[in-house]
Amino acid sequence: MSINFSDEWLQWAVELEDEAGCDIEAGLNVGQHLGEYLAKRQSYINQEKFMTILQEELGNLLSQAEIEKIVDAMQQDVHNRIREKLQSPEVA
């Protein structure tokens, strides 16, 4: 995906923000907890941690490319399984 943020877009954005005259935020106000919030979101499946474990345990048998391939496949598998379980999600 490539987005062309043109000069016209910027002019529109500035006018929009001036007219709204308010903060731009969405979601709950987590304020100073934001770092923790983002870290928790980030670490649902910590790809780096998983890769480090595989490197430590299997690094002498598998190449970096092979380990990355395993991690990517695992992430995709988890993603697909959760999607299946959420086939009938509640309305937001």
């Binding site: 062309n4 007219e19 935020e25 969405a26 709950l28 934001l34 770092g35 980030q42 649902y44 499946i45």
Partner: protein, 187 residues
């Protein structure tokens, strides 16, 4: 992932280079170093945080996380949830949920007026709309807005569904496909 753009630096009205990138540890470090000290703690915040802690246990990994960088500092952050929500305007149709969006404290009029940079929040919102089109969701986008930000979403002609008791009574807004088309036409 990297999308380049310009922001307006308010002090001299210069158009300065910026980029939207995937969230990394650098952005979390920027939050701790530059943002945190300028954010006031409030009872509302603690209440929301208690709720978030419970909610996170139910969360899925299906998120995309973005940051706006400008002049080497994180200027805004956003989290999108991609396929666990359905539209209220078009029932059963998939919709992108804007889980979290915020700009740096110095870009918020409620904390610093005038802000340091303009365009940060709108850039992230525009990216979210583009992601919705890329996923073939036709620009559909929804979010829960804090009272201090409702004016922005009203200006974007999002539909206001009122307070949502399931989300700490924040107002639920949805962007219809035709309004999303108007937004991407601005690009």
């Amino acid at each position: 992932m990297k999308e380049t753009l310009k922001l307006v630096r308010v002090r001299d009205l210069a158009k300065v280079d910026a980029a939207i990138v995937s969230l990394s540890a650098k952005h979390l470090a920027d939050f701790d170093t530059f943002w945190k000290s300028r954010l006031q703690t409030s009872s509302e915040e603690d209440r929301h945080w208690d709720w978030v802690n419970k909610y996170l246990k139910l969360s899925t990994p299906n998120y995309e996380k973005y940051a706006v960088e400008c002049e080497s500092i994180t200027q805004g952050l956003m989290i999108l949830e991609l396929d666990c929500y359905r539209s209220r305007l078009e029932p059963n149709k998939s919709i992108v949920y804007l889980d979290y969006l915020n700009t740096a404290p110095w870009n918020r009029p409620s904390i610093q007026n005038p802000p340091s940079y303009k365009g940060v929040g709108t850039a992230l919102f525009t990216l979210a709309v583009k992601r919705s089109f890329a996923l073939d969701y036709k620009g559909r986008l929804c979010l829960h807005a804090l009272p201090s930000a409702e004016g922005f979403y009203t200006k974007l002609k999002m539909v206001d569904f009122g307070c949502d008791p399931d989300k700490q009574n924040l107002k639920y807004f949805e962007l219809a496909s035709d309004k999303a088309v108007e937004i991407v036409k601005k690009l």
